[in-house]
Structure formats: C-alpha cells, structure tokens
Assembly symmetry: C2
Homo-oligomer: 276 residues x 2
C-alpha cells in the first residue's frame, strides 16, 4: 500500500492510498477518512460507494461527509468505481467500462479478468483496510449514490450480518428493468438474465430484505428518475414491511448538492445503528 | 443576467449565473447560494473570495459552506477570480492573468482594460446581486481563501462600514513582501510600489485596521507559509489591538480540507456579527 496524500480535516485525516489488487489485476486507489477518535481506538466504518463516472475523489471532496463523521467518530471509505488504466478494458460510453463497474464480478469478455468490483469491495479492500488502519471490523455500515446506492443496497442484502445499516442516495433501484442495468449486466454478466437478479435491489428486497434499518433518499426533481425507478424499490420495501424509511425530497436533483444536503441525516442514521 | 444552473441544496438554492460586466469588459460567472429564509425576506450576504487558479466553482462545491449558511440564514456569493476567455489577456504562469486577478484594478498593459476585479467585487457585482435577488444590502460580511483572503481583508479595511465582519483562511497576508504579490503588483499596477500598499492586508492593518471583528485561520502545515507570511499580519493585528482572533491550526495544510474544517466556525462568527 502506498500513501498518495494525507490532509488534516476536521481533527482527523483524509488520506488517499493505492494498492495492488488481486481482484482487479492492477493498482486501485481509495480514500479513507479517519476521525479524531481513531487516534485512541478502532473506529466504526461507513462505506460510501460512488456513482457512474466517479473516482474515489468525487464524494471525498463534494459530499460534505467528513464533518459529520468526525462528530460521530466514524471512518469513511471511498472506493473507486472500477479498475482503471491503459491495460484495462473500456468503452466509449460513460456508463460502461472504466468508471462504471456496477459492483459486480464480470463473467464475460473483455471485462471478466478485471471488472470484479463485487469481490474488491466485499472482500479485498476490507482486508487492506482492517490490516492497516485502526478500524473496527465488527462495526460497519454502507451507503452510496446512484450506481453506488445500487452497490450499497445489493451488498448489504447479500451479506447478512456484515453491515449494521444501509442507506442510499438516489440509487439505481431496479437495474434489471432499466437502461442503467440491462446494458451493463448484458455486457458484464451475459445475455442469460438469471444471474442478474442477485444485483437488483428491488428483487433482493422482494426475496430477502435487509436485517436492519434501511434509509433511502430520492430527489423529486432528479433528472434520471426514469432510469433509477425508485417506485419499484419503495413498493418492495413497503410490501416486505422492511424496517426503514423511503423519503422523496421535494425539488432536489441528482447532484452532489442533493447528496450533501442529506449527508448529516444519513450519518446520524448509521451512527445510531452502530451504537455511536 | 442568465441562469446557468440552479440546484436545490439544504432547503435553499445553489445558483450559477452569468452577466455582461462593464468592469471587466466581458461575461462574468458567479455562484449564489440562497438559504431557505430568502423565500420570506431579504437575507444577509457572506462573500467568499477564492484563491489562485479557482473559478466561482471551487469553493461552491468543496468548502462545505452551504450547510452552515442555511442554518444561519445567510446567502453566499462566490465570484470568479478574474476575467476569462479568448479575448482576455493571460500568462502561462498559474499565478498571473486568468485565475489570478488579485482583487486589484490593473493600470498596466496588457491587463488594464479587463483586470479590474476590485471594481467588479466592490461595485459592479453588488449592484447585480442587490437588483436581482432577495438580499439585504445593509447586512454584508466577507471572507476568502489564500488570494481570496487577501481580497477579503483588503476590501474590508478599505471600505469601512460596508462589511460587518471579515475573516480569512490562510490569506496572502503581506503581498508587497512576497513572491505572491510583488510579481502580480508589478505586472498589474506597475513598478512604482506606492500604489501597492493599498492592497496589502498587513500594511492596511498597520495604517487603519478594521472597524469590527477579524477572524483569521492559518494551518501550521501549510505548504505556502513562506509566501503567505501570516506572522506579519498576526504582528500587525496585535500591535494595533485589532479586535479579533488569529488562530494557528495545528497540522492543517492549504487545501479545501482545511477550509471546510473551519467553515462552520467562520459562518458562526459572521452570523453573530450580522445579528443572526
């Protein structure tokens, strides 16, 4: 692991690090905010998964999360959204290939060898983090924006016991029925739709739900409502009697101005679930 | 005036607007955050002047100011740092020309016709703002980062009665004695150093001070300490018995992680001075 940068922030440290990844076969970059409390004891971890076109950096500099994480004593992890670099497969479209990993393990050419973001976020990056930083592996929560909200919800429902709580900002809620999903799942997972269901938050909510509280915020003026399909997830949450909250926020769009506006609320939600 | 974008944020609106500027002879862009309170009555205004290389956008998306401004009912103005565009003079260096207006009215070629950021921020942009938005012209305060901290301090001391309070994050504190200042003043104002003094916060503090409270934050690990010269301003503030606070923040650098870490404190400071 190599340190790219460390900046003092809110009494803690906002770091950026790189490491060689087995899951993706190349160098990966992530951001980690350690709150001041981490100087004294291992702290809980809130994962933030980012959306299409983002790197580790977007949420790290625009979501306004560190201030609230510092107050509550939570670390924040900002993974990248895909493998990157010259030897890595890519596509001209913004929503496929680099910057668009969709938090799945690709099985199809040319993506299969490197686009394994599920394994990266679920298995490999946790080992890097818990081996190198004062973090409490038994106290994790997860959130994300857009494609990252999809990642947060699907990881949380698929790994019961791993995360105390899950939240999402304007998640891609029903990708098997959306052009944000069908295109990528066909490319990464193949034309057979059977394996797609494991990566659809609405279908997972219907089939199993989450063993804890769920919080979802969605802007009513989001320019991508027809691709996100929040109504499918809201219906599934209510039908399952899933403990949690689905909020339609009047007038908000898909930007980080929306994400940052409700970050304090999400961090309070996760801190409570983590007993902080 | 034209609307570039408006995003709902923290119950208010983060807007970006352009207008034709007499002062700079071209189109200028600015950001304006209106807090929720502006729906009901004119609100106080906090100016945020940005540093070298910045546009209106950097602080708008990275300083974390809107959350605290919304809580206190303050509007935030984010002007650009210079005229821009193809017909505008420029220099290859990052610290001269476009992105480096230094908040002066240039008198020298090729800068004189357009690099009039003092007039723009002191006179023209206020008229645009107070004619078009629900803002209370009698309730203004000003802050800024680096070159923008220099701008905030020099404007505040030179326009007594205009701003209720002034603060700065890592300001260029003594530009007539620094390579961040001498180079630009020579280019914009000419070789005769007499007019430079009106644009040096330390010299203005020595000669007149500010009729109100001053707050300055400086990171002890700032990579530009030798160019910023905070010790000159600290000495001048103390020698004048200037009401206010100079804080050396241990371990912080020059980045927006530093700025955002203390933004809540600066907005509280200005809100108090504005009676909010």
């Amino acid at each position: 692991m190599k340190t790219v940068s460390e900046n003092r922030a809110f009494g803690g440290v906002q770091g950026v690090y790189t490491h060689q990844s087995q899951a993706t076969g190349g160098e990966m970059t992530f951001g980690l905010f350690l709150p001041p409390q981490a100087q004294h004891r291992p702290v809980p971890v809130l994962w933030f998964l980012s959306g299409l076109t983002c790197t580790h950096e977007n949420a790290m500099v625009k979501a306004g999360a560190q201030e609230h994480a510092a107050r509550r004593g939570l670390a924040l992890v900002f993974p990248d959204t895909s493998p990157r670099g010259e030897g890595v497969a890519d596509d001209d479209a913004y929503d496929l290939g680099q910057g668009a990993g969709f938090y799945v393990n690709a099985t199809q050419a040319p993506w299969a060898p490197q686009f394994r973001m599920w394994d990266y976020v679920a298995d490999e990056l946790p080992r890097v983090l818990f081996n190198n930083f004062p973090l409490d592996e038994g106290a994790q929560a997860i959130t994300g924006h857009s494609m990252g909200g999809h990642g947060a919800l699907t990881l949380a429902m698929s790994l019961p016991g791993r995360y105390a709580s899950v939240s999402a900002f304007a998640p891609i809620a029903h990708p098997t029925a959306s052009d944000w999903g069908r295109k990528q799942f066909a490319a990464y997972l193949g034309a057979d739709e059977a394996p797609w269901a494991a990566h659809d938050a609405t279908l997972l909510m219907q089939s199993q739900g989450f063993d804890g509280e769920v919080l979802v915020d969605q802007g009513s003026a989001d320019q991508f409502l027809d691709l996100l399909m929040p109504e499918a997830l809201a219906q599934a949450m209510a039908a399952r009697r899933q403990p949690g909250t689905f909020r339609m926020q009047a007038g908000y769009d898909h930007s980080y101005f929306f994400v940052s506006s409700f970050m304090a609320s999400h961090i309070r939600f996760h801190a409570r679930a983590l007993g902080r």
